[in-house]
Amino acid sequence: MTEQQSRDIEPCQDLQETWSEICESLRAEIGEASYQSWIKPMRLIGQNGSAVRTGVPTRFMREWIQAHYQDRLSELLDGRGLTGGLDVVIHQEHAASGRAETKPAEVRKEDAAPAGPVNGTGIGNGPHADDIGAPLDQRYTFDRFVVGKPNEFAYAAARRVAEAEVVPFNPLFLYGGVGLGKTHLMHAIAWHLRKTRPDRSVIYLSAEKFMYRFVRALREHNTVDFKEQFRSVDVLMVDDVQFISGKESTQEEFFHTFNALVDQGRQIVISADKSPNDLEGMEERLISRLNCGLVADIHATTYELRLGILQAKGEQMGVEVPLKVMEFLAHKITSNVRELEGALNRVVAHHQLVGRDITLETSQDVLHDLLKASERRVTIEEIQKRVSTHFNIRVSDMHSARRARSVARPRQVAMYLSKQLTSRSLPEIGRKFGGRDHTTVMHAVKKVEELRELDSSFNEDVELLRRMLEG
């Protein structure tokens, strides 16, 4: 049958012909897609005793063939007088040479089925893997999607698509603000299909990548292959479709791909940051197509959902995060899930890298750039004012020569904070405190450091002032 097989087969001509016949009759029974995915890549090696030996490139493929086709193949062999059964082995060489001989037009079939039904799910999956789809994030499964009121509808719709035998709605259009889990749901659909329906080819990619590939195909006068690749998948998922707004020729091609797949009863899943009607720079006819199926939106997170996400994520990371910290994060980082998870990552990493316990205070420190409206540069004057107010003395006492404890201690605290919170030199700080020498400042710093160790209420005072000043 294929040139690949005829070239590599050592066994006698008869056996080869018989094998080809068997393959052809199975092709008629199981259909073209399954044939291309599973039977065609099998290579006849010869006879091992009375058994017919064949090779396949991966363990996964061998198991799949043994589970689904071995009995039927044995039967067919039996009918032709080869009663020793079928032997399927993993054949490394096969994988390498088979890949190299792949013709461009066959790329999808070669990639889609044996190495992994989801295209390019791993790096180094072969030269073509990354060309078509984007790889999937292992963490983005249904199990790891935390469901709450804002996203339960989108979640249910995605599950439906992943589990349905026939296309339930076309397309599934997921939309919502950034970082709320659209990509997570799409990857989860792909992972689920990969596990339960490895015979189906699933492509996930961003709209930008779709455009890039289309433009390249145009440039290389290769649009036939491009169309063939995209119009022969079982499930096509295109992320962030808003990125082709205003790109007319890409939209045109996308529109035709879309129609071709819908006509063939294949599933399409689309995501965007807005609903179809709100997408700007999109052709009317494309918008109406996007509206045809189920439009599911993901709403902004609620406090409860955010807390749930943090708890789930903390468990996954295997780190004990105090509830107080999670409540704080859920309260403060409200923009989206990506930033929320990013914040938790930072808090946990800080704990792991620097060895500090995870507390409310360390979390606030680590995330200060996210939590505070602006990075303020504190001045010595501000410090003097704030410290004076706190200890109920006059600001002028910061510069005065008075040495009474009631003013001297606050003055020392202000000097200490000036050294901690500004980059002024000690002589400069001394000048701002009534022309004192830098050694006086050094003494003040040492004194305050000592007192912070000894006196916990004094320590709290200083810490409070520091936090207020840092805003």
């Binding site: 994030d137 750039d369 830098h438």
Partner: protein
């Protein structure tokens, strides 16, 4: 003016940029720990930020050497290779930053399991980025600050700058300088440069009196 004064020719000195030369102190320990942890980062991007002269570039060089990485001048998704390591410096100072290009670079890195270290003077959360998709990716990435140096770091920095310039100084000179100078990375570099120039001009060793003169002149 006492003694002849020569115009010093600024010898080009190349700061040592190996990991061993990188001084790890509380001010930068976390940033260094992130670099050491590469490629075990939660996402493709790590931002290191801090004031001018705080050692960001040095750290970036260490990262490039360790990862056999590549320094980019502009965000460009096309350069990304599987598992590759990249650096973009002074990201908050690139004039008219192409946000979409950075967004695509981020996504390309995510797909290819690549990593990028970006440096800036301010935290990514403070950058004025119009593209919401990019903002959330930046804000969701770890960002670690290199803080103002403490006394120990300041002293170590001075020693490093002196030795970069092949100048021998006594411990007492460094001890004299630390409490009297502005406590920034840049100040340490500038001060040593000024002392070097003064020592060269006067053909004198670096001593406390010479340092005092330079400090007073500032």
């Amino acid at each position: 003016m006492t003694g002849p004064r020569q115009i010093p020719i600024p010898f080009e000195h190349r700061p040592a940029l190996q990991r061993d030369d990188y001084l790890v102190t509380p001010a930068n320990a976390e940033a260094v720990a992130w670099i050491d942890r590469w490629p075990d980062w939660p996402g493709p991007l790590l931002a290191v930020w801090g004031p001018e002269g705080c050692g960001k570039s040095h750290l970036a060089q260490v990262f490039l050497a360790r990862t056999d990485g590549r320094l980019l001048t502009m965000p460009d998704a096309d350069v990304v290779e599987a598992g590759g390591a990249y650096v973009l410096e002074d990201l908050d100072r690139i004039p008219s930053l192409d946000e979409e290009a950075l967004f695509h670079l981020f996504n390309a890195l995510k797909s290819a399991e690549g990593r990028i270290l970006v440096t800036a003077r301010t935290a990514p959360a403070r950058w004025s980025i119009a593209l919401a998709d990019l903002t959330s990716r930046l804000k969701g990435s770890p960002a670690v600050e290199i803080t103002a140096p403490d006394d120990a770091l300041l002293a170590a920095l001075l020693v490093k700058h002196f030795s970069d310039r092949q100048l021998r100084v006594d411990a007492e000179v460094v001890a004299y300088m630390v409490p009297r100078m502005n406590r920034t990375f840049q100040a340490a570099a500038d001060l040593v440069a000024a002392i070097d120039a003064e020592a060269l001009a006067r053909k004198r060793a670096v001593t406390v009196p010479l340092v005092r003169k330079v400090l007073e002149a500032e």
